[in-house]
């Protein structure tokens, strides 16, 4: 394969089980550099598991994940692929950032510390520089005035915007967004989605979003993956998936979700 044509992220027959429950059943999935991809589908269909595997919060039971043309879930020992060691994972996941449904900010740190902790202690960025960058990022998410506040003093929407700034502070190539608006009060959702739209517009970060916000998925994505029972039921550009879904499973899912809205 020619360099440059290779997908940035490649799932090759990935299997993930939790006990007897097979969540991903030989999944193949490619995402290109700079692409914005949305994962939709009923809960329990394996969407979030894909993000968690990429963040190395879970480990594969079968198959291999590749990132940037190199093995990610595995590593080479000689020319054999063996499950990646903790050290290998630590080094390779630094290119990946994640925003969680429940924000997961560190409540014992100020907003500034939350945003600088990763760059300073994991990437070795000097404190001053990390702090300047934190100010920029907080300006971008509209929270520069909250830099010395603690997370508990912020609304859910504000916390999630800080969490986005924290993830971006690591300068990730890949940003994973796991139902980032699901825990928010309805009136706070728009603010968070606006920030994500801006990131999509201003940067070339590869984004993988698991979301139930169909309008957002339609606006931002280059490609939409419809998941069902650990497999991709259908994928395509948003106009096609939302405008002219081919699969019955997609049709019934979209009907149920859109009616609910």
């Amino acid at each position: 394969m020619e360099p440059g044509n290779e997908p940035l992220i490649k799932f090759d027959s990935v299997v993930k089980r939790f006990g007897d429950n097979v969540v991903l059943d030989g999944l193949d999935l490619d995402v290109n550099a700079g692409e914005r991809v949305t994962l939709i589908g009923p809960s329990g269909s394996g969407k979030t598991t894909i993000l968690r595997l990429l963040m190395t919060l879970e480990h594969v039971n079968g198959g291999t994940i590749w990132v940037g043309g190199r093995p990610f879930s595995h590593m080479y020992r000689g020319d054999k692929l063996v499950p990646a060691s903790e050290k290998y994972l630590r080094e390779h996941r630094k290119t990946i950032g994640m925003v969680f449904q429940q924000f997961n900010l560190f409540p014992n740190m100020t907003v500034r510390k939350n945003v600088t902790e990763g760059p300073v202690h994991s990437l070795g960025v000097p404190k001053e520089e990390a702090s300047e960058r934190a100010v920029e990022l907080l300006e971008m998410v509209g929270l520069a005035d909250k830099i010395d506040a603690h997370p508990t003093q912020l609304s859910g929407g504000q916390q999630q915007r800080v969490a986005i700034a924290r993830a971006l502070a690591m300068r990730p190539e890949i940003l994973l967004l796991d139902e980032v608006t699901s825990a928010l009060d309805p009136e706070l959702v728009a603010g968070v989605l606006d920030v994500l739209r801006e990131i999509a517009r201003e940067t070339d970060i590869t984004m993988l979003c698991v979301t139930h916000e169909m309008a957002f998925a339609r606006d931002v994505s280059d490609r939409v993956f419809m998941f069902d029972a650990g497999r991709i039921a259908e994928s395509g550009p948003p106009e096609q998936i939302f405008g002219d879904p081919h699969e019955d499973r997609t049709k019934s899912f979209l009907k149920a979700v859109l009616e609910h809205d």
């Binding site: 963040m55 994640m98 997961n104 014992n108 740190m109 902790e117 202690h121």
Partner: protein, 212 residues
């Protein structure tokens, strides 16, 4: 009748004993705090954690008085002072309690906090030192404080290994002057004098930290 003359004689001696008691408590407690934390952290490691668990359960379920006299008898030929033995035995014994307290605090830290650390690839000294322990310890400060008072109240056990703490001083002088009633009353009063204000302080801490 209360013997005022004897009381005058007794009080300076008791104060010396109280000083020994305070030393044993403070140093033993410091040991319990540090060792307990180490135990709680090591217990999360496979295999080694299992061994540590068995050892701490053994220490926790045998009486501290038995441990004191046992270790004291072992060290009869060495020149380690009884006070040092007392501090170490009390500290080790209480570390098995504080380890449980720390463990509950660590388990109380949300799973999402560990995941966020992982997502930022934080090195483990930051995961523990900057994220997990500050949150875990804050929650268990009142429970840890209670063990300080419990330990203070256990120091008269050191009497059994001839440490000159308060009870032992009172026992000696009370016996010598046939005035055990005054001697033991004053010991009780001295314990109250220290323990009651400490309990008040811990209540305050409890109220301050429980709210978060």
């Amino acid at each position: 009748m209360w013997d005022v003359e004897f009381t005058r004689l007794l009080i300076p001696a008791l104060l010396t004993g109280l000083w020994v008691t305070v030393q044993a408590t403070v140093l033993g407690y410091a040991l319990a705090l540090v060792l307990g934390l180490a135990v709680a952290m090591v217990r999360r490691v496979k295999v080694v954690g299992g061994i540590v668990f068995v050892v701490t359960e053994f220490i926790r379920t045998t009486p501290v008085l038995v441990q004191l006299v046992f270790i004291f008898s072992l060290s009869a030929l060495s020149d380690v002072s009884p006070l040092t033995i007392g501090i170490v035995v009390l500290g080790v014994h209480y570390s098995t309690y504080t380890a449980e307290v720390y463990r509950s605090g660590i388990e109380g830290v949300a799973k999402g906090q560990w995941e966020a650390c992982r997502a930022l690839s934080l090195p483990s000294h930051r995961v523990w030192g900057a994220v997990v322990l500050p949150q875990a310890i804050r929650k268990v400060i009142p429970a840890l404080g209670n063990y300080l008072i419990a330990m203070f109240k256990d120091t008269p056990l050191l009497f059994a290994i001839s440490v000159p703490e308060m009870l032992s001083v009172a026992n000696d002088l009370g016996g010598q002057y046939f005035r055990s009633f005054e001697a033991y009353t004053l010991v009780g009063a001295a314990f109250l004098l220290v323990a009651v204000p400490s309990a008040v302080v811990i209540r305050r801490l409890e109220r301050r930290y429980a709210a978060v």
